[in-house]
């Protein structure tokens, strides 16, 4: 009971989302740091798509069929994690080039992503805070 208080599904998704958003900030800062590095390819963090896939899998109930991986080089089959286990993943976007030197960091796009990510992080922090307020309210039996 008491461990469920801080490790419920909502709590874990929020925690992982904040962690992924923090990682996304690091990745965006790294892209911005290398805006003038010849041949540098930008990276980004995948989280929302993975979480959406995990939620859809739970809803459709199609998370039954799973391939067992006995080797790290096996391809995963139906290995969609539970929503609470989804974490952010960094991928390199090497398909495009923006300039003649092979760099593909678009300064404007990165700045938009930076402010977007900052706002997302703040919203998540707000949600965690609200969750804590709920808990506190339950602990104090509704009294302030």
């Amino acid at each position: 009971m008491i461990e469920r208080m801080f490790s419920g599904d909502t709590q874990r998704v929020l925690e992982n989302a904040m962690r992924a958003s923090g990682l996304a900030h690091e990745v965006i800062a790294h892209n911005l740091a290398n805006v003038d590095t010849p041949g540098y390819k930008r990276s980004e963090v995948l989280f929302q798509d993975k979480l959406a896939a995990a939620l859809a899998a739970v809803q459709d109930g199609d998370d039954q069929l799973k391939g067992t991986r006995t080797n790290a080089r096996h391809l995963p089959i139906g290995d969609i994690p539970l929503p609470g286990d989804v974490t952010g993943e960094t991928v390199v976007r090497a398909e495009t080039s923006l300039r003649a030197d092979g760099n593909n960091v678009d300064l404007d796009a990165e700045m938009v992503k930076l402010s977007e990510n900052t706002m997302l992080y703040q919203a998540l922090a707000q949600l965690v805070k609200m969750k804590m307020t709920q808990l506190r309210s339950a602990i104090s039996e509704g009294r302030r």
Partner: protein, 147 residues
């Protein structure tokens, strides 16, 4: 999120862009220097940037990259000299003129330097914005525990 790591990434970029600005300022200051300790006119210099930290360039979809990607910012790997030829200007009265009356002037193009300077300034500003954003995020995270 690791505030210190984010700050270190942006900080490395601020250092690199500042060094680049220093080099541009040096190029502009020496746009007309005809005597150097190595002999001959001044040669234009350039900062060479390279990413810091391991880069995973290729991976299979769905498989976690190992070791996980961790960028650590940017670093200046060296200061290179521009190998392009010097400007030749006819000025027989100049103390460094050759027998034919021509003076070799540095291969510094003031317009190119000004454009590079603007690019470096913009990049610097972008990284300052990243530092500010990291601080805002950390402040908001600290706010969670507050009643």
């Amino acid at each position: 999120m690791n505030l210190a790591r984010s700050m270190a990434i942006s900080g490395s970029a601020l250092t690199a862009e500042r060094l680049r600005l220093d080099i541009i300022a040096n190029n502009l200051a020496n746009a007309n220097t005809t005597r150097t300790p190595e002999g001959g006119p001044y040669r234009r210099q350039m900062a060479v940037f390279a990413p810091r930290g391991e880069q995973v360039q290729f991976m299979y979809p769905g498989i976690e990259p190992k070791p996980p990607f961790r960028g650590q910012g940017v670093r200046v790997v060296g200061i290179a000299q521009d190998k392009s030829p010097f400007k030749r200007v006819y000025d027989p009265g100049h103390p460094d003129a050759d027998a034919a009356g021509y003076v070799s002037l540095p291969n510094v193009n003031v317009v190119t330097e000004m454009v590079d300077m603007m690019a470096a300034t913009r990049a610097y500003e972008a990284n300052v914005a990243a530092v500010t954003a990291a601080r805002t995020m950390a402040e908001r995270a600290l706010d969670i525990g507050r009643a």
